[in-house]
Amino acid sequence: MKLVIAIIQPHKLEAVKKELEAVDVNLMTVTNVLGQGRQKGVTEIYRGAKEAGGLLNKVRLDIAVNEAFVDPTIDAIVKGAHTGSVGDGKIFVVELAECIRISNGERGGSAIG
């Protein structure tokens, strides 16, 4: 089992969701987050004073998948979120030690989907 964490542009969420559903990945947790990458955020101006380093709005997806779904999930996210410019985001894949379905106590790979 792996946990796929993706940080994407907020306006790409719908496209990513559509690509994920196309490869039968339907379960995800989505949060609004703030972040900055190589471009170092944005500059904001309040009453003439420049505030550099303001963080940008991003969307984070947390998706738990079984091994067979790892590559299709990554491909779907890249396909949906890619524009080719800086700020498109990142995908992190980490080992997932356990998964428990709260409603019936089911554990492991069968609890993921």
């Binding site: 101006i45 309040y46 009453r47 003439g48 004073a49 505030e51 303001g54």
Partner: protein, 410 residues
């Protein structure tokens, strides 16, 4: 008695209240961080409650009551004794005396509320209450007496302040600067504005200020007549010019216009035209608006950052600087052709009026600085003006009022 005049001044009184709540409350409330928004709303509402009572009990009598050597009013009208339906011809012959009183009450309310911008996000609610009551009684009431009381010594010199450029804006703006310096910077303040938590609130508040200001300025004619119309129009034109000018200056200086800049320019324009609106024509009102936007922009965006004091919401930079400029501009652009009760200004060949306006500014600044300093020291010694650092970091809403504006988790 004139029912048209009475109806207009009653309506104008309500418009001036709208400037403080919700106008100023939301203008300032949007500019602070989310942990302090309720403290601003609280301060604005409490000022309405406290100063309304102060005004009824003794404030009105001190400011407008029969004058003691031009310095302060007597106690003749304490508790509004004798202030009823019969007009007081010394102030307004065509409306009930009580209507003039309640119109003036709304001015007494908004003036200490303007100062909130200087001490925002770091003052104790208890100290704020005592300070406000003392400041209103010892600074606003005497100054209103000097400039507006028929026996006031500055009025006797021929000083012109149609709707409160000196009495309201210079007094509060200068006091705000003194407080900002005495209180010190907010924790973490580093020569730059702290990001506003809700700019749409600020824009909404500015729109309500603009709307309410018609009551403030055109109502100050104390009649529904041509002078009120002139004040209404010059107010509108100066404000439009100032909002646009600020946005253009910013665009040129920083590369983009901002809505915060535009509404800040709008308020600066409203402030500057306040003393002048019943004495100048619309073309000169436009010039006043354009000039004040540039002057306040320099004060707020360039000079403040260099000097390093933390006038959190620019009460001095907008109201103090804008009010000083507006009072001087009145001495430049005033003309008897607009208001026979007024005077000609510098561009109409009357140097004397220009000098009187300058004196008015100096007197108001010296008086406000000295008195605010004394009141601050007294309240600080007895109660302590500033919250503990730990409470400032948590925020005034939770530590002073035990409530929070926004829930993050249900």
């Amino acid at each position: 008695m004139n029912s048209g005049d009475t109806a207009w001044v009653l309506m104008a009184s309500a418009l001036v209240l709208l400037m403080t709540i919700p106008g100023l409350a939301f203008f300032y409330g949007g500019l602070v961080r989310r942990k302090n928004v309720l403290s601003i709303l609280m301060q604005c509402f409490v000022i309405v409650c406290v100063i309304s009572l102060q005004w009824m009990l003794f404030g009105y009598s001190l400011a407008f009551g029969p004058s003691f050597h031009g310095i302060i009013g007597g106690l003749d009208w304490v508790g509004l004794r004798g202030v009823g339906a019969a007009p007081n011809p010394a102030y307004a012959a065509t409306i009930p005396h009580s209507v003039f009183m309640i119109f003036q009450a709304m001015f007494a309310i908004i003036t200490p509320a303007l100062i909130i911008g200087a001490y925002a996000e770091r003052v104790k609610i208890s100290a704020f209450l005592v300070f406000t009551l003392l400041w209103s009684t010892l600074v606003y009431d005497p100054l209103a007496h000097w400039v507006w009381n028929t026996g006031g010594w500055l009025r006797a010199l021929g000083a012109l302040d149609f709707a409160g450029g000196i009495v309201v804006h210079v007094s509060s703006g200068v006091s705000a600067l003194v407080l900002a310096i005495l209180l010190g910077k907010r924790v973490g303040y580093n020569h730059k504005p702290i990001r506003p938590h809700n700019l749409p609130f600020t824009v909404l508040g500015a729109a309500l200020l603009w709307f309410g200001w018609f009551g403030f300025n055109a109502g100050s004619a104390l009649a529904a007549d041509g002078l009120a119309a002139n004040a209404f129009i010059t107010t509108h034109i100066a404000t439009a010019a100032a909002g646009l000018t600020w946005a253009l200056v910013e665009w040129w200086h920083n590369g983009t216009p901002t809505i915060l800049g535009t509404v800040t320019g709008v308020v600066a324009g409203l402030v500057a035209i306040t003393p002048a609106c019943g004495f100048v024509n619309p073309m000169n009102a436009m010039f006043i608006g354009m000039m004040v936007a540039v002057i306040c922009y320099v004060a707020v965006s360039i000079i403040k950052g260099k000097l390093g004091y933390d006038d959190s919401l620019d009460a001095f930079g907008v109201h103090g600087v804008g009010g000083i400029f507006g009072t001087i501009a009145t001495g430049i652009f005033a003309q008897k052709a607009i208001n026979v009760a007024g005077s000609d200004g510098l561009i109409f060949g009357n140097v004397h009026q220009f000098l009187v306006q300058g004196l008015l500014v100096i007197v108001a600044i010296v008086f406000a600085v000295v008195m605010t300093f004394i009141i601050y020291k007294i309240v600080d010694a007895i109660i302590g003006m500033r919250v503990e650092e730990k409470n400032e970091l948590i925020g005034l809403d939770l530590t002073q009022q035990s409530e929070a504006a926004y829930t993050v988790i249900e």
